[in-house]
């Protein structure tokens, strides 16, 4: 019974789901070989070649389907942008140096911004570049540089930390990840015919509410102005909640990284090793000298945040 259901569905689908599953299996093995670990570098190269071959086969199957549906206009930009996004995403995961991983993530962000432009979401593309590539990634790179200038004692000869060179259970992680990816692609290519509603986006109507019972219709152009109207008319409370979340997270980040000061009855002098439960103090430093600020979290109040060299 399942086979009789399965075969016609597979025949009508864009891609045969079994092919997708097999490709996901090969890609999983290739990614597990590419992940950093205690192996020879040739394994990573072999894995890269296998992953690239799997990607080429997958895109070739998709391109063949697209060519049978509509021969003209293959959407070359889509293929270029998605190839850049996926390859740089693989490099984010497999690159052993965190700074390079962050820079490859910038490439992924830029490529998906290109995909957003193809989807008529130009405001989202600009917001993605500004927020992700401009703000979040700069924060990441700052933290990476702050953390790696401290020269962890586990550093190997090449200056790489052990936790960057050796990944944790690459086979298990690749199996789980590609099992999920295979299931998602299976559902997308096999069962998702209903969601692909043939809407002409430029002629579709959206409501623009102006307080009346029968809001006037405005054509869906995907413009920023219409997006703003939609956001501030229909999603007002969500927008306010978003600003509240941003404010709370800003305050929370300050509170989390705040250093705690030991205050004693003897002025600015530190006492001999108070109990950890008594480590409390005012929010403002009792002494502005940065060499006297103890590290929050250590049980020794004499451990200074900026030790004098």
């Amino acid at each position: 019974m399942p086979t009789t259901l399965f075969i016609p569905a597979a025949a009508n689908a864009i891609l045969n789901p079994l092919v997708v599953m097999v490709l996901c299996g090969f890609a999983g093995i290739a990614t597990a070989m590419m992940l950093p670990g205690r192996r020879e570098a040739s394994w990573a190269r072999v894995g890269g070649v296998v992953a690239l071959a799997v990607g080429l086969i997958f895109s070739a199957l998709l391109i063949r389907y697209t060519a049978t549906v509509s021969p003209e206009g293959m959407g070359i930009y889509f293929w270029v942008f998605s190839a850049i996004a996926i390859i740089s995403a693989v490099r984010v995961v497999t690159h052993p140096r965190p700074v390079y991983a962050a820079l490859y993530f910038v490439l992924t962000v830029l490529a998906s911004a290109g995909l957003f432009v193809l989807l008529w979401a130009d405001f989202m593309a600009a917001a993605l570049v500004i927020i992700y590539a401009g703000a979040i990634l700069v924060t990441y790179v700052f933290v990476i540089m702050l953390a790696s200038q401290a020269a962890p004692d586990a550093a190997t000869i090449a200056g790489q930390a052990d936790y960057d060179d050796v990944s944790r259970d690459p086979l298990v992680a690749a199996a789980i990840g590609f099992a999920l990816m295979g299931m998602l692609l299976f559902v997308i290519f096999d069962k998702a015919e209903g969601v692909n509603r043939p809407v002409k986006p430029l002629n579709h109507k959206v409501y623009v509410q102006d307080g009346s019972d029968h809001p006037p219709l405005a054509p869906y152009d995907g413009t920023t102005q219409q997006l703003g109207q939609y956001l501030f008319n229909d999603q007002t409370i969500n927008l306010e909640l978003a600003s509240l979340i941003l404010t709370v997270s800003m305050v929370g980040a300050i509170v989390i990284t705040r250093r705690r000061i030991v205050s004693t009855d003897f002025g600015d002098e530190f006492v001999e090793t108070p109990e950890p439960e008594t480590l409390h103090g005012p929010a403002t430093p009792v002494n502005d000298n940065p060499h006297s600020i103890p590290v929050y979290g250590t049980q020794n109040p004499r451990a200074k945040a900026y030790p004098e060299r």
């Binding site: 864009i14 990614t31 992940l35 998709l62 003209e72 998605s82 996004a85 996926i86 995403a89 984010v92 995961v93 965190p98 991983a101 962000v109 998906s112 995909l115 957003f116 989807l119 979401a121 989202m124 927020i131 979040i136 924060t139 990441y140 933290v143 953390a147 401290a150 962890p152 586990a154 936790y163 050796v166 990944s167 944790r168 298990v172 690749a174 789980i176 990840g177 590609f178 999920l180 692609l185 997308i188 998702a192 969601v195 692909n196 509603r197 809407v199 002409k200 579709h204 959206v206 869906y220 995907g222 997006l227 956001l231 969500n238 978003a242 997270s249 929370g252 980040a253 990284t257 250590t298």
Partner: protein, 102 residues
């Protein structure tokens, strides 16, 4: 006119999400783990914008804006936590916190 189906964009989003999940599970650097979380956010954002485009309304883009808000809040809080954890153990290894039991 429309040569690319919705499935193409959904496939790209699913692949990005899966790669981010793999990275989150197997990398040991705390910062790279959160970077892989951002990769998963990217996949979800592509899915949402593609749905919004093919269904012809703005819900997908509005959802993507909220996803960006959550990503920014998560990045600030997570990086603050990473700095805090780094100060305590002087390493970014996630396995240094192995004694934490749920």
């Amino acid at each position: 006119m429309e040569t690319l189906a919705l499935q193409h964009y959904l496939a790209v989003g699913a692949i990005l999400f899966g790669i981010g999940l793999i990275g989150f599970m197997c990398r040991r650097n705390l910062i790279v783990m959160f970077l892989c979380t951002e990769l998963m956010f990217q996949g979800v954002a592509i899915n949402l914008v593609a749905f919004g485009h093919f269904w012809g309304n703005f819900s997908g883009q509005a959802f993507t804006i909220f996803v960006l808000v959550i990503a920014a809040a998560e990045a600030s809080l997570a990086l603050g936590l990473v700095v805090l954890l780094f100060r305590q153990k002087n390493t970014l290894d996630a396995d240094a916190w192995r004694e934490l039991k749920g």
